[in-house]
């Protein structure tokens, strides 16, 4: 009980503060939209079947926007020294982790809620299908689960903003592949039952790395 109330407190504090200023959220969103536009210019997305390129464009936009948000997650706490305040409290370190993961998830979902309809309008491809959203959801969870613990690591390094993508992207390859593959399959008109490989992989990734992060997060925060 105490555990979940601490998770909720940390989650709610992050969400409350962020939705008040929206500094990071607007940054993430504008970045995601710009990424989509740049892809449009770079690859001329008015190809015959936009479905073939949309999954890749969508996921690259989501990944890089997420990276911005994840980076700020611990940098803000670190720069104000406020992480010490949480560490002083009689709270499990894994509760801090989980609260942060949930906060990051909400920010990433908030960006996607706006980004996906914009993509529908710009490219006339319906990405708002439930099965596509399932892949978006699972992939986003994977990014939040691994990205949160790596951002806690990266914040204590030199060149910390650069460090997070370098650490995160090679570990995230399975999520990128499975999510893009699954999204593409569904946009091609195949049923969800044909994307079970990608789906299972995403679920396995999320579960395995959530477990490892739980086991190792103590070591990241301890000094």
């Amino acid at each position: 009980m105490r555990f979940w109330s601490a998770v909720w407190a940390i989650f709610w504090k992050d969400v409350r503060a962020e939705f008040r200023t929206k500094d990071i959220l607007t940054g993430m969103l504008v970045f995601a939209i710009l990424a989509v536009l740049v892809f449009n210019f770079a690859f001329d997305l008015r190809v015959e079947r936009p479905q073939t390129v949309i999954p890749g464009v969508m996921w690259v936009a989501i990944i890089f926007a997420s990276m911005l948000g994840l980076n700020r997650s611990f940098i803000l706490e670190q720069d104000r020294g406020s992480l010490a305040g949480i560490l002083l409290a009689p709270v499990d370190r894994s509760a801090i982790y989980l609260g942060k993961v949930l906060g990051n998830l909400v920010f990433m979902f908030a960006v996607e809620v706006i980004l996906l309809p914009i993509m529908v309008v710009l490219f006339n491809v319906n990405v708002l299908m439930p099965s596509v959203l399932l892949f978006v959801g699972l992939g986003t969870v994977g990014f939040a689960v691994v990205g949160t613990i790596f951002s806690a690591i990266a914040v204590n390094t030199r060149a910390r903003e650069v460090m997070l993508p370098v650490l995160l992207l090679p570990v995230m390859v399975p999520v990128v592949i499975a999510a893009v593959k699954g999204t593409a399959g569904i946009l091609d008109g195949n049923p969800l039952s044909e994307q079970m490989g990608a789906l299972r992989l995403l679920i396995a990734f999320d579960v395995i790395f959530l477990g490892i992060a739980f086991l190792t997060f103590d070591y990241v925060l301890e000094e």
């Binding site: 109330s5 010490a84 002083l88 000094e223």
Partner: protein, 235 residues
């Protein structure tokens, strides 16, 4: 209340605390002095369970700080020159957040009481980012007192405050000390330290070089004592 035995702290290859032993009884107020880099903040952060000792044993109210940090955390209030507050939340939201972390059952009455006490009752619903440095520091004290801890660790709480705000802070701390809390304070302000504490401990080069009561000690004495001790360590 606080027992430190042979405490050593290394950062990488640098030894910051070189075997500190210190006993502080319940209700004692102690001022910790020393030049920058003497290890004052490190010592306080170890007591606050923010750092792990490299060697030695520290117990707070009988609990080992490495083996039972959660039990110790309930007993400690910690104030540093970092406010540990969120500027984009209101004063009340900040306190409510910490109340939740400490698992306080009915926080609202306690929060009102503390806001009143630190003179911020009317600003409770304003964002902390609109506060002056002095107000932030008073709110920090309220945060540290939230769970009514028997021990207060104060790491240069008056740094960066103008004289008026510093006076207000000193009065507030005096009140708190009267309530029978055990207090360990670091400061660069020698006269305030002598006024406030009954015992003075001087730390230099990672060792305790002086430990004596402040009774009958004038600021000039203390300042000489301090400089001598530091010079001795350097030699």
């Amino acid at each position: 209340m606080i027992h430190v035995r042979g405490l050593v702290k290394r950062f990488g290859y640098t030894v910051v605390l070189k075997g500190i032993s210190l006993d502080i009884e319940a209700g004692e107020s102690v001022v910790l002095l020393g030049p920058n880099g003497a290890g004052k903040t490190t010592l306080l952060r170890i007591l606050a369970t923010l750092l792990k000792p490299s060697a030695g044993r520290v117990t707070v109210a009988g609990e080992d700080i490495v083996r039972h940090p959660q039990a110790v955390r309930h007993l400690l209030g910690y104030v540093s020159h970092h406010p540990l507050l969120y500027p984009d939340l209101t004063a009340r939201e900040n306190l409510r957040f910490y109340a939740q972390l400490y698992g306080l059952p009915e926080p609202d009455a306690r929060i009102d009481e503390l806001l009143e006490r630190v003179g911020l009752a009317r600003r409770g619903d304003d964002l902390v980012r609109t506060f002056s440095r002095g107000m932030v520091q008073r709110l920090t004290i309220a945060r540290a007192l939230l769970h009514n801890p028997p021990i207060l660790l104060l790491d240069e709480p008056d740094t960066g405050l103008d004289p008026q705000a510093a006076n207000m802070l000193a009065r507030l701390l005096q009140d708190v000390a009267v309530e029978g809390r055990t207090i360990l304070l670091t400061t660069h302000n020698l006269s305030r330290g002598v006024d406030f504490a009954r015992r003075v401990v001087v730390l230099a080069g990672g060792r305790i070089v002086t430990d004596r009561p402040t009774e009958g000690l004038e600021v000039q004495d203390l300042s000489r004592l301090y400089l001598d001790a530091v010079a001795q360590e350097a030699a």
